[in-house]
Symmetry: C2
Subunit: 122 residues, 2 copies
DNA sequence: CAGTATCCTATGAGATACTG
DNA sequence: CAGTATCTCATAGGATACTG
């Protein structure tokens, strides 16, 4: 198969995708939506530390990229559900592997930093 | 096993790791170092569009995090090799899956954006 | 060759307060 | 409940030029 996309190439669209993935909150949104549709307030409380403004921005961008679906229910009080699209679900797997790696190896990284900083100051 | 690390938790070190991974050039460095030790100038030419300043910054951070090893050869002209450490190699796999996804699905993302933008302007 | 040194700016992101 | 509206700021990152 010929994808003709190469991240190493400048101006390649895949770089934009990579950057999107690599924004501060997007991976956490994937994690929060892992189990199915979730309401805004729930996403917000699941992802510790995110402000509503930034969360909305992140969700909108993911929606625009076709990775998240936003469903508005005509109710009072309002209810809005967010869920991963089929495309978003295919990204969940590799993204989750990175997350798992981060959780499993965070300690090693911190140790390496300590070593490096000690070496610098000596 | 009890990792006790959770990306959804604020102040969790794994978040820092995730952010590091998600910086603009780091994933491309992994890609560039995929095949073994590479000299600085080679990394630079492999990753289209990166400036020497930013590349140095990225490499230094990855070195500090124990993901990349920097080897200086006492030669004139100077020669410096960069390569993934064993820890870095374990990260290469999940990261490469994300890259592959990005290259494979960049077109879908771009389409989704067009659809979304059309819908907004209508 | 392998970087530094400066300068500069866009923007990601936080804090805070308000609303249909 | 599900967001907006402002304001503000740090810093990631780019452009350019220089050096051991």
């Amino acid at each position: 198969m010929d994808t003709s996309f190469d991240v190493l190439n400048n101006d390649c669209p895949s770089r934009v995708v990579l950057q999107r993935i690599g924004d501060k909150w997007a991976p956490l949104v994937f994690q929060a939506l892992k189990g199915g549709p979730v309401r805004f307030s729930r996403v917000r409380s699941t992802i510790q530390g995110v402000t509503p403004k930034v969360l909305t921005q992140t969700l909108r961008t993911l929606e625009r990229d076709g990775l998240v679906r936003r469903t508005v229910f005509a109710q009072v009080p309002p209810r809005v559900d967010y869920e991963l699209t089929p495309l978003g679900l295919t990204l969940l797997e590799p993204l989750d592997a990175v997350r798992a790696w981060a959780e499993a190896n965070a300690a090693h990284i911190l140790d390496a930093r300590d070593d490096y900083d000690d070496r610098q100051s000596s």
